[in-house]
Amino acid sequence: MDLFGGTLDVITEEMTVSDDEDRVEDRPTAFMDKYIENTTMHATGVQATVPVSSFQRFSVDTNESLHFEPFIPEGEENELTPGNDDVFLTENQDESKELMEGRTAQSESDSPDAYCTDCQTPTHAFKKPTGPHKNHRVILMKKAAQEIKNDISKTRSKLEEKITQMENFVSNLEEIFITVEENFGRQEQNLEQHYNDVLQTLAHRYDERASAQEDEKKIKLESLYNQLIGCGKMMDDSKELIEQAQALYRNENKYAFLQRVMPIMKRIEGLAKEEVDLKIATSLEFDVPAADLSDVKQMMDTINAVPAPSAPVMNPQIPNSATCTSLRVCWSLFSDDTVEYYELYSRPIFEDITVESDLEASKVKVKETHYTVTDLLSNAQYEFWVTATNTTGISPASEKAVYMTVPSPPVIKPRECTSCPEAALIRWDSGNTNPVDSYTLELIEMGAESSTSTATESIVAIPTCECLIQLQPGKCYLIYVRAVNIGGPSERSQSFTVSTTGTLFHLMEDTAHPCLSVSEDGFTMFYTDEELPLSEMVFGDNTFARCVAVLGDLIPVRARHYWEVEVDPHTEYRIGVAYEDTQRNAYLGGNNSSWCMRHVLTPSRHKYEFLHNGWSPDIRITSHPLRIGMALDYDKGTLSFFNADLGQHLFTFQCQFLHYVHPCFALDNPGALALKNGIKAPHYVTLV
């Protein structure tokens, strides 16, 4: 033990000597600790703590915490992480029990089997109740190791996180550094160029001015020279004259003198009279024009000022960025430009050319390169353009870009939706005054519990306001519709629930005879006693004119359909199916485009007919049906009638229906018929 302690001390000393050797020194130290741990030593726990604490000191002193972890051999970490014990300060009875059960050491001579988290030292479990760790939290070595390992891994992951953050930060910094450097370089280049420009301009100016002065100088010198020559000549003339005069004066011959003196005298007088121009012919002053340095000054000014930005570029509309009242408009600038703010102009585009499009463009000041324009009309086009402004000036306007708001959500028309176990026909109103590109229908199958909805299925690019969708029988679906234009899809419409239990349809009230009224829920038909004068009846193109009848809007799916009608025993009725174009001025069943069951009250009995083309088989029915089930099977080409209360089969028409048929209902005397819809077809309908 002494040996180990000694070695350790040496190493610790070495540590303090040279920080550079830290890494190298970690290994032996750690190894040493491991050795201490694993060897069956005749050492007390106190002794063992000595190297440990010194190691801790080392690790702290050397600030090597980042590196220190990988060098810790396993099983050792518990001793190496101080600190977190305060978490465990509360005494735990379970732990004490566990401690007592798990102890292995029976005497001091055995290796420590427990660990005091307060003192951070290994100890013996059996000493716990009495020893120095009496009031401390002492746990089994194994457990302590695990706890401390956990702590370490937590710390490690925190550190790793921090490192990642730091790395990110560093890379950000690097980016910034590069950007700054680039910008600086660009600025420098810019400045140099500018100064070169200025210097060039100045040099040019200098050359110009110098040559101008040179010319002036030459002219002046020439004129002076000429003057000088003139003076010289005059002096020569005068001198010659004086010499002549002197020569004459000295002449002894008076006669000759007198003879000749007069012209000379005249000339002298003349000369004397002649005023000599002694003024310098040219101005000595050079004409120096005031140096016009304003342009240079401007150039100098622009060196420091940022250039006015160039026209920004409008970005095309980003999909799904619009709503029905707002648009997110984006544009971009040239990277060299400095912009203080932008001004975004917008103006609606009306396809209708009668509307004047010279509406005032609205303008808004924006700091960013995007702006969300609100309070717009839905499904409408707007054009946008933008200018950029900085201290120097304003850029030209960008090109105009056209953006489009998304449409308003469509409105599903529940009364015009129809379904059967295999399919549903959904119809809706566009919800927008102007056309949209297409519609999207979303379909969610409701789970067993109504709250859990499964995946959404979408049908896209529906060109019209209706869609026939395939469904699974016996399910419940939530249906939404969205309108789509180039701006993106609208919000969802109100949901519509389709239950594929049975066939469901509504009455086509536009086909109803004027005397036939339909209840508010759309499923009960009345033929009232009140006589309506013929003049008050309004017959449309599509209304039944003779038979007090109405058609139902059955889904156009060649499948099996079932519906029921509740009748009164005293009502005369015709119920069945008819082609949509069945004659409106004929009685149902009286032609080859309708098939129906007719109930006639005779004074003696109830008579039932199954009419098609005006013919009925002779059939007696003893039990008067009050709820009549009708089963239409396109595949088998059958239309069957049942007494639904009894499950009694009444009659089956055999006919290959060439077109889609619609349920038809007619009243031959005042009364009511109640349509029962969305009913699961009874099993027996398939057995006929």
């Binding site: 088989p617 002779d618 059939i619 007696r620 003893t622 039990s623 009694q648 089969h649």
Partner: protein, 310 residues
């Protein structure tokens, strides 16, 4: 006359097994007379000693293909009319196709005891042999052998159920003419026993027609009150029990209809009164022959299948 016994269809039985009698009092020994494959199944004829009729009796049974029996698994019994044997129905009615489709066993018994050596037995076609009228005779010399009602409603079903593992709970009954009468009275006298009932041109009100009066007087004696127990119209007026859905087809050009032997209007009136659901179809141009039965047998098999396979 013929009686048609709609076959009891055995549910899960692949092959029938001929058993010795399990019940000591009834002889269950069946002797196969013939067996022919038909529509994927088998048309067989068996002979046995009848305890009710005290003579040898034959009955025909159609066993539909095994897989269909498994699929549907329902049972029916049917009867034939005046003068007929078990052969008439199976050879003329064309019922096997539809029975095979719906997995229904068809049982067609004879119409009366045969070879009992009763005086006057073979004197007329509408009384005695071939004209048992499905009554339990009370008058000498008929009362020992002419117990067709008991034979049809008790002995034969027991025989079929024990030998073919047919579902005793799901039995329908049908018949033509006298057999139609038999089918109607079996159903009306035993509420709930037959899940389905149908008839072709049945004798609806035998008490009011010449055939019925002759047979009833002979078998049951002059007391007309005892006749009422075997008259469908009378029984319908007094019926109370589970709703019966009765399908009746009648040829419009039936010579016996115009001869007032069948009297369906009386039955319809009675059923209307007691609210028994009947669909009565007067088929234009058809007469009383088996061509008429053949034309509508599949509707009737479907009618039975609807209730038996429910």
């Amino acid at each position: 006359m013929m009686e048609e016994d709609a076959g009891t269809s055995a549910r899960r039985e692949k092959r029938f097994r001929v058993q010795t009698s399990e019940k000591s009092d009834v002889s269950m020994a069946l002797v196969q007379v013939s067996s022919n494959k038909c529509c994927g199944g088998y048309q067989k004829v068996f002979e046995h000693d009848s305890s009710e009729l005290k003579c040898k009796m034959k009955f025909a049974i159609y066993l539909p293909p095994k897989d269909l029996v498994d699929l549907y698994g329902a049972d029916v019994i049917t009867k034939a009319g005046l003068t007929c044997t078990e052969q008439n129905f199976i050879t003329k009615a064309g019922s096997q196709q539809a029975a095979a489709e719906h997995g229904i066993i068809l049982v067609a018994p004879d119409t009366s005891p045969r070879g009992c050596n009763i005086e006057g037995e073979d004197e007329s076609w509408d009384f005695g042999t071939g004209a048992g009228f499905y009554v339990n005779a009370t008058q000498e010399p008929w009362k020992t052998n002419y117990r067709m009602y008991a034979y049809i409603t008790e002995e034969l079903p027991r025989l079929v159920n024990s030998n073919f593992a047919a579902d005793a709970e799901r039995v329908g009954v049908s018949g033509h003419s006298m057999g139609g009468h038999g089918a109607l009275i079996c159903a009306l006298k035993n509420p709930g026993k037959y899940k389905s009932v149908s008839a072709f041109a049945p004798i609806c009100n035998p008490m009011q027609c010449a055939w019925g009066q002759k047979a009833f007087a002979g078998y049951l004696g002059p007391d007309k009150s005892s006749w009422e127990a075997y008259d469908a119209t009378v029984l319908a007026g007094a019926y109370s029990g589970p709703a019966l859905d009765i399908l009746i087809d009648q040829g419009r050009d039936d010579q016996f209809l115009s001869a007032s032997q069948l009297l369906p209007d009386n039955l319809i009136a009675a059923c209307s009164q007691s609210n028994i659901p009947v669909v009565f179809r007067l088929q234009q141009g058809y007469d009383h022959s088996y061509y008429f039965v053949f034309s509508f047998i599949s509707d009737h098999i479907k009618h039975h299948a609807k209730y038996l396979n429910a």
